[in-house]
């Protein structure tokens, strides 16, 4: 995977006109471009307040004083940076791809690069981590457009391998973001225990005051399997296998089961106020970002 594969030039031009949108006002540590819950030094007027000695005279409103003789100061909203954290699932299952198509990892990396670029372009704070059984190494603090190159290199350097266990990984509170912010999880959501495990992981992130976005990256073969005959189905991560005579009815049953699984994911996400995005590998990046994510209000 090369860094330049992740973001094309025209796509970068498109991303420049987009920003991430959060449902809540952020509270960062540094000045940023995000509207904060704090009152601060932005140009956006918030309220008037009685002058008290020691106030910055630059904010004294002479016009009001001239008209009414009252001494008031103008208060402005503060604009702070947004803490955005990207978690990239790099378990073995992410290495799968459709015939001749991109792997799930590559697709997820492109999505992450897009989200990351948008973050950096907005002068927000970005953290990127690889996740398998636990939260692996990452780039904890990226800020500003120039950091794009580092982001891409980090993403391009990821390789799929090993087991994945999201619930276990997010148990480690020390690796969770300290500040409230936005967390994106890029995963195929194939876990050992299924939706229960995912909900647990999401709950831990929400406890860390994160606005979670769950992006499920899947190949088309996982949504609509094209298998037939007597097959020994080997789990890529666990190594266990199941023998099955795959018939049309079985495929049908799988598809039904997949729909149900997806429905349960969407259900708990909706219940918890978590955005859930299904991003199949064969759906173009542009469509996912400009279509699905914009519809969900994640991107403006």
């Amino acid at each position: 995977m090369k860094p330049e594969e992740l973001l094309g030039a025209d796509w970068i031009a498109r991303l420049n006109r987009l920003t991430l949108s959060t449902g809540q006002r952020v509270r960062g540590t540094r000045q940023g471009r995000r509207r904060s819950r704090e009152l601060g030094a932005s140009l956006e007027f918030a309220d008037y307040r009685e002058y008290s000695p020691g106030d910055d005279v630059r904010r004294f409103d002479w016009s009001v004083y001239g008209r009414t003789g009252r001494k008031v100061v103008r208060q402005y909203l503060d604009e702070q940076e947004l803490q955005v954290t990207l978690y990239m699932d790099v378990s073995q299952s992410m290495a799968f791809a459709d015939d001749g198509g991109a792997s799930k990892l590559l697709h997820a990396s492109r999505l992450a690069a897009s989200i990351g670029y948008m973050t950096l372009a907005a002068y927000d704070r970005l953290g990127v981590y690889r996740v398998d059984e636990r939260i692996g190494d990452g780039m904890p603090l990226l800020r500003g457009r120039p950091a794009t190159h580092r982001l891409l290199e980090f993403l391009a350097a990821s390789e799929a391998g090993g087991r994945g266990d999201l619930a276990e990984a997010f148990k480690d509170r020390s690796r969770l973001p300290k500040l409230p912010g936005m967390t994106w999880i890029f995963s195929d959501c194939w876990t050992e225990r299924g939706e229960e495990e995912l909900e647990e992981a999401v709950a831990r992130l929400q406890a860390a005051r994160q606005e979670v976005v769950l992006v499920q990256v899947l190949t088309r073969g996982e949504i609509q399997p094209r298998l037939s005959g007597d097959l020994k189905l080997i789990d890529a991560e666990l190594g266990t296998f199941k023998e099955a005579a795959l018939t049309g009815r079985l495929i049908e049953a799988y598809e039904q089961e997949f729909t149900a699984y997806r429905g349960r994911l969407a259900e708990f996400c909706a219940r918890r106020g978590v955005a859930y995005v299904l991003a199949p590998v064969d759906v173009p990046l542009r469509e996912t970002v400009l279509g699905t994510m914009r519809e969900l209000g994640l991107v403006r």
Binding site: S93, F96, K104, D188, W190, T191, E192, G194, T219, E222, L227, S228, G229, D230, L231, K232, L233, I234, D235, A236, E237, L238, T240, F241, K242, E243, A244, A245, L246, T247, G248, R249, L250, A253, Y254, E257, F258, Y261
Partner: protein, 670 residues
């Protein structure tokens, strides 16, 4: 629906074999999947990993199994029962054995009606009813004494009906096996051929082992009840007549047995017979008669052909000749050569030497010319007197006795005047047939030529041999002494004697005994007989046909018409009764007449068996089930035939295989 061959079921073992092959085929392809999460749930629900699970929804396998099952089914040769007359060759075998002339009595009291139909009538109407709708080829085989194809492939309904209507009972010994073999041969190789046998089930031959390759159906004719009494044996011994009467039916009968001699009733007895019982009736003091008849009177039994029996003295053998002579070896030998039974009575007074036992009684009785010798026990047919007849024999019982026989007088006292020349002139007569008599020297002629006799041979214009009728008996006179000439040494002498014996014994026939109708009987054919006929005298044949005669076939070996002789082996007439064998020919005015009692085959008198005949081909090929199946069907009068399903099944299998090919090509497991 039925099954032609249950042996084909063995091929059904191929079905579990195919299943085994599919079950044992455990070849899983390693396929890594990202996760088991969903697969586990799916497989837990559908249990697809169980061995038989994979058998589901495998169209190819089901098609294969279907094809194999159909194949096995087709090998079982299934067929559908369809109504008779749905195409195909139909071979109708009509049983016309004597028992078919029995009255069809389905219910008690039927036989008492005036015009009760016979089984044959029912058979005809059934055949006509069954074949009215037939659209295939029809062949009618008459199962009689010799099987015969009466109508073959007759598509014309009128001629078929005529052929059926013309069926007559055949009283000969029925050849059931031959008829079935013939039917099988006719049906062989025909499309959808089947054989229907119409019979009363009264078969004297077994046909189980007969190979029949086409389906045979038996339609039973005749009811449960069968009333019949049969005269099994009848004979006379001098003045005593003995008969054996049996009840061959299945109900108690009271039978009146009537004896008549030459048409005059002589006695009657009444017997009560249980089913299966036989009784002997004896009539003592029967009046002398030529032909005795024993008949069952006052009885209306179902089967009439065995109700009469005839008996007559069996005198058909040798001609009995009483030779009154001093001893003439040549004459005696010549008489014996002609087949006569010679008894010589020595006129010189010595004891008669005889070659029959009968003449032993006269042994030791010294005779003079004045005392007549005792009469021989048997009445001779011909009396040959050489020389002069002694006076003692001319009158009294001897005279009367000799008057009943044909007389041949030879020689006597020599005549004084002898003819001037010895030129022999011959007149055509049975006695002079084949003879020229120019060579021998006859010696001096004798006197005493009886008047009224026709001269057959004259020497020098004087009669030497004359023949004619004297006192109602044939008479032959030789006007020379045999000792005086060399005629006995001549080669023509035995022929002359033979001719003389034949002519003198002419008109007197005898009994030929008893024969089964259609059988071959040996008949002594008179020399010169050109044609002959059987004339019914009494019994069923006479009553039925009103005395219509039945011509006798000529001897096929003698080709030319002029000398067309008759074979001594003749076929007895077909209808039972008493017959006379009458011969006629050029110069054969009075040939001997022989009597023959023609009877129906005795085995036809018995009651029909309960079960139908079983045909052997089924047993041979191991498909006895079919005939077992068939029996109840036919008993119920179920008129059905078989429509084989093999061809539609084969077409179905081909269609399935084409479907399989399509499925295979699409490469889907379902």
């Amino acid at each position: 629906m039925g099954i032609g061959s249950w042996a084909g079921l063995w091929f059904a073992l191929g079905i579990p074999l195919i299943l085994m092959m599919y079950l044992l085929k455990r070849k899983f392809i390693d396929t890594p999947v990202p996760s088991h999460l969903l697969w586990r749930r799916v497989l837990e629900n559908t249990e697809a990993n169980r061995p038989w699970q994979k058998l589901r929804n495998r169209l190819l396998m089901w098609l294969q199994i279907l094809a194999a099952a159909l194949l096995a089914f087709a090998l079982m040769r299934p067929f559908l029962w369809t109504d008779a007359g749905t195409g195909g060759t139909l071979v109708v075998v009509a049983d016309v054995s004597a028992s078919m002339s029995a009255i069809y009595a389905s219910e008690p009291g039927d036989s008492e009606t005036a015009v009760a139909p016979t089984r044959l009538d029912i058979l005809k109407s059934e055949i006509l009813a069954d074949t009215r709708q037939a659209d295939g080829d029809l062949t009618l085989i008459r199962m009689g004494g010799s099987p015969q194809v009466v109508a073959s492939a007759a598509d014309d309904q009128a001629s078929w009906n005529r052929a059926v209507e013309e069926l007559e009972p055949d009283y000969a010994r029925t050849s059931y096996r031959e008829a079935i073999s013939l039917a099988s041969a006719v049906a062989e190789g025909q499309q959808d051929a089947r054989i229907i046998v119409y019979t009363d089930g009264q078969w004297s031959e077994r046909v189980e082992d007969l190979p029949v390759s086409v389906p045979v159906e038996v339609r039973r004719i005749g009811g449960e009840r069968y009333r019949n009494a049969s005269i099994e044996q009848f004979g006379t011994d001098g003045n005593r007549a003995v008969g054996v009467v049996a009840n061959t039916g299945n109900s108690v009968l009271e039978v009146g047995v009537e004896l008549s001699g030459d048409g005059r009733a002589q006695g009657k007895e009444t017997l009560a017979l249980q089913p299966g019982e036989r009784q002997t009736v004896t009539f003592d003091r029967a009046e002398a008669a030529e032909v005795y008849r024993l008949s069952l009177a006052g009885l209306s039994d179902d089967y009439a052909a065995d109700d009469d029996a005839f008996a007559f003295p069996e005198s058909g053998g040798a001609v009995k000749v009483l030779l009154l002579s001093d001893g003439n070896l040549f004459l005696e030998k010549a008489l014996r050569l002609s087949g006569a039974e010679v008894t010589r009575l020595d006129l010189s007074g010595n004891a008669p030497t005889a070659d029959t036992e009968a003449s032993d009684t006269e042994e030791g009785a010294g005779k003079t010319e004045s005392t007549a010798p005792p009469l021989p026990e048997e009445q001779p047919d011909i009396v040959v007197v050489e020389g002069e007849l002694p006076a003692s024999l001319r009158s009294g019982t001897w005279g009367q006795w000799l008057g009943n026989a044909a007389r041949w007088t030879i020689g006597g006292k020599e005549e004084a005047g002898q003819p001037g020349n010895r030129r022999v002139e011959l007149t055509a007569h049975p006695i002079t047939r084949y003879l020229s008599l120019t060579e021998p020297y006859f010696g001096p002629l004798t006197e005493g030529r009886p008047a009224g006799l026709q001269t057959l041979l004259s020497i020098g214009g004087r009669p030497a041999i004359a023949a004619g009728t004297e006192n109602g008996q044939r008479a032959l006179w030789f006007g020379f002494n045999l000792q005086s000439g060399d005629l006995p040494l001549n080669s023509e002498f035995p022929v002359l004697v033979s001719n003389a014996t034949t002519w003198l014994s002419g008109g007197r026939g005898g009994g030929l005994g008893r024969a089964i109708s259609g059988a071959v009987v040996e008949v002594p054919i008179a020399t010169g007989a050109e044609s002959a006929l059987w004339r019914p005298l009494q019994g069923a044949a006479f009553e039925k046909n009103g005395g219509a005669t039945q011509a006798v076939n000529g001897n096929p070996t003698s080709g030319s018409g002029e000398h067309a002789g008759l074979a001594s082996s003749q076929v007895a007439p077909s209808v039972p009764g008493l017959y006379a064998f009458e011969q006629s020919g050029n110069g054969l005015e009075e040939a001997p007449v022989y009597l023959l009692d023609v009877r129906a085959d005795a085995s036809e008198s018995t009651a029909p068996t309960a079960e139908n005949p079983v045909f052997g081909a089924m047993a041979a090929t191991g498909t006895t089930g079919v005939s077992d199946d068939m029996a109840p069907n036919t008993a119920n009068g179920d008129h059905r035939s078989r429509l084989p399903l093999t061809i539609p099944l084969a077409a179905l299998i081909i269609a399935i295989m084409l479907t399989e090919w399509g499925v295979y090509r699409r490469g889907r497991s379902i």
